[in-house]
């Protein structure tokens, strides 16, 4: 596949390295001559020095034959412009952008960026996974429906311990998709008895995770 990477931030560099290693044809458009030199030294002639939001530079980089354009500069604003250019001027099939401000995710999606990778969200997820006593994990953002797949572990003192699943009132549009017990994985049914340390895998509207968390872990 021919992949165009805009911006050689740290992420851009490691991404390019990984893409090359998996056999893709990659060109990186990077503004800083020093970073371009570094890229050439480390990875061979993959760098094109220039502005990734400039149409002439993008054309030189072969944007019109790129299968994927990945905007990976360290600024959300530039990543948006690069993706919009790729999509509207060069009809790139798939545009992907890296963002830092989690609140920018919806606007990128509305404006047609195909894949939005929220680095803050990723860091948060991996930290949450390791913080004891905070058993709420965001597993996946179900993009098109603005829903979130989450995992919530029921603490010992939670009010729902010893109650049946059917008795637990869930927030609107939320549902349980799986219950992981120490004895194995159970499909959710109204009769299923909830125990401490059960892991609940649920789907809930984005932003509403806390309500579900409070219901399942509240005393």
């Amino acid at each position: 596949m021919y992949i165009l990477v805009i911006g050689c931030s740290e992420v851009g560099y490691h991404l390019t390295k990984a893409l090359l290693a998996s056999g893709h044809e990659v060109v990186v458009v990077e503004k800083s001559p020093a970073r371009c030199d570094l890229l050439t030294e480390e990875l061979g002639s993959v760098a094109l020095q220039g502005d990734g939001t400039d149409q002439i530079t993008l054309k030189l980089a072969g944007a019109n034959r790129a299968d994927v354009v990945i905007a990976a500069t360290d600024r959300d604003e530039i990543n948006l412009v690069a993706c919009q250019m790729a999509k509207h001027v060069f009809q790139t099939g798939r545009t992907m952008a890296l963002i830092k401000d989690p609140k920018n995710e919806p606007i990128f999606q509305i404006l047609g960026v195909d894949v939005v990778v929220n680095s803050t969200h990723l860091v948060l997820e991996s930290l949450e996974e390791r913080i004891p006593g905070r058993p709420l994990l965001r597993l996946m953002n179900l993009r098109s429906s603005s829903m979130e797949l989450v995992s919530i572990t029921i603490p010992e003192d939670a009010g729902v311990v010893g109650r049946r699943l059917g008795e637990v009132e869930l927030p609107p549009r939320s549902f349980i998709s799986l219950v992981v017990k120490s004895s194995g994985v159970e499909r959710p049914s109204g009769d299923l008895l909830l125990d401490a340390e059960d892991e609940i895998i649920a789907v809930t509207p984005s932003g509403g995770e806390q309500t579900l968390y409070d219901i399942l872990t509240g005393i």
């Binding site: 149409q55 600024r75 604003e77 948006l80 001027v89 830092k100 609140k103 919806p106 509305i110 404006l111």
Partner: protein, 133 residues
């Protein structure tokens, strides 16, 4: 009208000083503390110092939810592009204007139906007109 402006520079201060703006309420978002300080005594202006890079939370703090107009007049064209599109597509602000100096970006975003102003180009047209006259 409640008008939210991103950017504090000559364009913003000129706009505030113009008689046409006398009836409006303004909120100015900017990272330029000195420029905001100069506006602090204006009774119809609220100023809000923003961090670098600007976070969307600050647009909400500035009242974008209830603004009648949003003017992205900062010197950072990319910031103007992102915030204008947020104002238009997320908060459905009735009037959105985006300042862009780069002619290529200006043409591209005009085609994407953003209302774009280019002070340099306007100045050039005025100069040409003056020379012809």
């Amino acid at each position: 009208m409640r008008i939210l402006i991103l950017g504090c520079g000559p364009l913003t201060t000129l706009l505030l000083a113009s008689p046409d703006s006398a009836d409006h309420q303004f909120t100015i978002l900017s990272g330029d503390m000195d420029c905001l300080d100069d506006l602090a005594d204006e009774p119809r202006v609220i100023t809000l110092l923003t961090p670098e890079p600007l976070m969307q939370d600050y647009l909400q703090l500035g009242g974008i939810d209830n603004a009648d107009a949003f003017l992205a007049l900062s010197e950072d064209e990319y910031e103007n592009i992102l915030t204008s599109q947020i104002a238009k597509h997320i908060f459905n602000v009735g009037k959105v204007v985006c300042r862009l100096e780069n002619p290529q970006l200006q043409q591209f975003y005009t085609e994407l139906e953003l209302e774009v102003v280019n002070p340099t180009l306007d100045l050039l047209q005025d100069l040409n007109r003056a020379l012809q006259g």
